[in-house]
């Protein structure tokens, strides 16, 4: 069955680069002690951070590559750039942003998004945040929303007290790498009892070929506060490998509610190796909403440590793997306190030989009584060349824990397509509809604009799958 279908999508939106971006402090490729020293020096960092970076670098060098997950053998650390900065100074108002960067943001729809519902926008262009606005009423409430470099300078005590307490450099090889060369990212502090009623969001982009991006995000939600942070990524397409290795740390103090939403659409040559971890204290709620499209290999397992009684954790993720792509993702929940609850929902779609892997950990510690946990993974395979695997690890050390695990693997049936097409919908649209419907439990958790964007990306990914 063959139909031709014109999708109403601006393809150029997802595949462009700026030709006239000029980079200051462009480093040579490769990583050594001197590069790490230089990064710290350019940023004029306090000595403790310099030493932290060096300690992390040493660990990175001696730590072997992980022996599990995706194929990392083609990743060449010597071919990467570890630091680049387009402008020296950060801008606060839209007028100060260089015009070529504005054009890039226009293509990504940032100003529109801002007009509609943004409180603050931190848009990361290369390694430095060039545009950062914070609505006044947020500042009045004592909320800090800054790029991480600025936060280190302006809030040194708050920063030092929490930084790397959730993800220490020794956690894994890529956390060590990030800790050594990190640049940019978002820093958020929400004071006790304060609710941030609009989502805070930052747009991240990789623009230089072979440039690694190592942003570092730290969110501290004080007691009984509430915040939703959104991070979206759209990378231009390049032919050689690129590395993205972020660390995200979240601290949800007692009674706090934090939601962290990500949609990432990396170009198909990017290695996306991310460590995301949250601490949730008593009665706090932590939610990861994590969408992964594109990339050559993504290894990302958002985790939640439930540290106090009554804490809740939720991980909702979606992965889409096309040709030559491997999405190795999932979630980890560590129940360390009684009466904690968690839910992991994972949806994955593989097509054109793409591969998705669900890798999850559910740990219930001795003494964590009355734990409840639900894990559900659904995989959709769009053809017989694609692949999906599920690796759920359960370590349950309390007898009264209530845990359920459900996993399904589905295919799109001929009858389903026939049914939708009999209503006038083209095969292409019908396929997209089924895939979007499959992802709906995820999409409905997104703000409207992101849901639309995600659906467009899916339609784009689905284009050409009819033949």
């Amino acid at each position: 069955m063959t139909t031709t279908q014109t999708l109403d999508i601006d393809y150029t939106k997802y595949n462009f680069r700026d030709s006239d971006a000029t980079y200051e402090y462009k480093f040579p490729k490769g990583l050594n002690r001197n590069v790490v020293e230089q990064i710290s020096k350019i940023k004029n960092e306090p000595d403790w951070m310099r030493q932290f970076r060096l300690r992390s670098y040493e660990h990175f060098m001696k730590r072997p590559l992980p022996m599990w997950g995706g194929d990392l053998t083609t990743l060449n650390f010597d071919e990467m750039l570890y630091y680049a900065s387009p402008t020296e100074k950060k801008s606060r108002s839209w007028d100060d942003v260089p015009s070529y960067i504005k054009e890039t943001f226009d293509k990504l729809g940032i100003p529109e998004a801002e007009r509609k519902f943004l409180g603050g926008v931190g848009a990361q262009y290369e390694s430095e945040v060039v545009y950062h606005s914070l609505r006044e009423d947020l500042a009045k409430k004592g909320i800090i929303f800054a790029d991480t470099d600025t936060a280190l300078r302006e809030y040194p005590e708050l920063f030092k007290k929490h930084f790397a307490t959730v993800v220490p450099p020794e956690d894994n090889k890529f956390a060590a790498l990030n800790s050594a060369v990190w640049s940019g990212g978002s820093f958020i502090y929400v004071p006790e009892g304060v609710t941030v009623d609009v989502p805070l969001q930052a747009y991240f982009r990789i623009n230089t070929q072979n440039m690694g991006q190592f942003e570092r995000t730290l969110i501290i939600a004080d007691k009984n506060s509430r915040v939703h942070y959104i991070e979206g990524c759209t990378a231009p397409i390049y032919s050689t490998d690129s590395l993205h290795s972020a660390v995200v740390e979240i601290i949800a103090k007692p009674g706090a509610h934090v939601r962290y939403t990500t949609i990432q659409n990396w170009s198909s040559d990017v290695y996306n190796l991310v460590t995301k971890r949250a601490y949730a204290y008593g009665n706090a709620t932590m939610e990861w909403v994590d969408g992964n499209l594109g990339s050559r290999l993504t290894m990302k397992y958002p985790s939640i440590y439930l540290l106090g009684p009554g804490a809740k954790g939720e991980i909702l993720s979606v992965a889409f793997a096309g040709k030559g792509q491997h999405q190795d993702s999932g979630g980890k929940v560590i129940h360390l306190a009684p009466y904690t609850t968690s839910r992991i929902t994972s949806k994955s779609i593989s097509k054109d030989g793409g591969r998705t892997t669900y890798r999850g950990l559910l740990h219930v510690a001795k003494g964590a009584k009355g734990v409840k946990s639900t894990v559900r993974c659904d995989a959709l395979l769009l053809d017989e060349y694609s692949r999906t695997d599920t690796y759920p690890y359960n370590e349950i050390n309390e007898d009264d824990a209530t845990t359920t695990h459900e996993a399904t693997v589905g295919k799109i049936g001929e009858d389903q397509l026939f049914y939708l097409m009999s209503r006038g919908v083209s095969e292409q649209e019908a396929l997209s509809m089924i895939v979007m419907g499959f992802m709906e439990p995820f999409t409905k958790e997104l703000p409207m604009e992101y849901a639309i964007e995600l659906n467009r990306l899916i339609q784009l990914e689905m284009a050409g799958s009819v033949g």
Binding site: F418, L420, S422, R423, A430
Partner: protein, 283 residues
């Protein structure tokens, strides 16, 4: 002015599934404004006919032709057939998770009603809004007619619907998409008598010069509410008798055995007899 009526013409249609011949030369002509009933026992090829007309890829046309307004549609995919005005109310509607009914129907509506609609909407946000509102109004109106409550707009396509709700949702789709020729595949099966009456009333209400109906059934009950002008009896992949409403009446009085007797084919006689017995047990 000449009034152009859409005509569906089936000529000597031969169809097989996975190499097995099911339809062995079916001839039938349905025009807008007419109601035809195709009756016959299980296995006679009724559902094959319905699915073939709509273009299910599993059903292979080995011979003959299907024409809409004189043009063959045999090579067309189901979506293109829908755009030519055909509609199939499924015997077993499929469940599509995550696709809200109203949203789906709006997409379908726009696909079928074509460019004119899309151009209006492309004019800007205002045009889109009005159209969305108009659609919502139409949708809610039809929802009421088929006796489904407002929550169905946001429910996923057929997911978790009861048997009766699924059939009513099919009629709802038909009412909104306004086909020229509607094929209804055993819409009455699996429904109790009240549900049949409800569904039939809506169809009867829709019937008129605008729509041609090909009603496929093996019970006569639904014909009490939807009065066909033409009745065709099908068995063993062929239509072997066509007539007016009196044919259905005769079937009701005398059962399929009368036809089987007429037909003189003992295997048909056996099938039909079995069918009549089963129907007697069920009712």
């Amino acid at each position: 002015m000449i009034l152009l009526l859409t005509t569906l013409e089936i000529k000597d249609l031969h169809v097989s599934i996975e190499g097995k011949q099911i339809l062995k030369g079916v001839n039938l002509k349905v025009s807008q404004g007419e109601i035809h009933a195709v009756m016959g026992p299980n296995g006679s090829g009724k559902s094959t006919l319905a699915n073939t007309l709509m273009g299910h890829p599993k059903y292979k046309v080995d011979g003959g032709d299907i024409l809409v307004n004189g043009e063959s549609i045999v090579g067309l995919t189901p979506d293109l057939r829908a755009r030519k005005g055909l509609f199939l109310a499924f015997q077993y509607p499929l469940e599509i998770s995550g696709v809200p009914l109203a949203q789906f129907l709006r997409t379908a509506y726009r696909s079928i009603k074509g460019d004119g609609q899309q151009k209006t909407e492309a004019k800007g946000v205002g045009g889109e809004m009005i159209s969305a509102l108009a659609f919502k109004k139409k949708f809610e109106e039809k929802l009421k007619e088929v006796d489904l409550d407002a929550s169905f707009a946001k429910r996923y396509l057929n997911e978790g619907f009861s048997g009766g709700e699924k059939k009513r949702a099919e009629i709802l789709q038909m009412a909104i998409l306004q086909p020229s020729i509607a094929i209804m595949d055993e819409t009455d099966s699996g429904l109790d008598i009240d549900a049949i009456r409800k569904v039939a009333e809506v169809v009867a209400h829709m019937a008129g010069p605008e729509i041609g109906v090909l009603l496929i059934t093996h019970y006569q009950r639904i014909l009490e509410y939807i009065k066909p002008q033409f009745v065709h009896i099908m068995a063993h992949g062929r239509i072997f008798q066509s007539g007016g409403p009196e044919l259905a009446k005769m079937l009701e009085e005398r059962g399929y055995e009368w036809i089987a007797g007429d037909c003189g084919d003992s295997s048909v006689r056996k099938t039909l007899t079995t069918h009549v017995m089963r129907e007697a047990v069920e009712s």
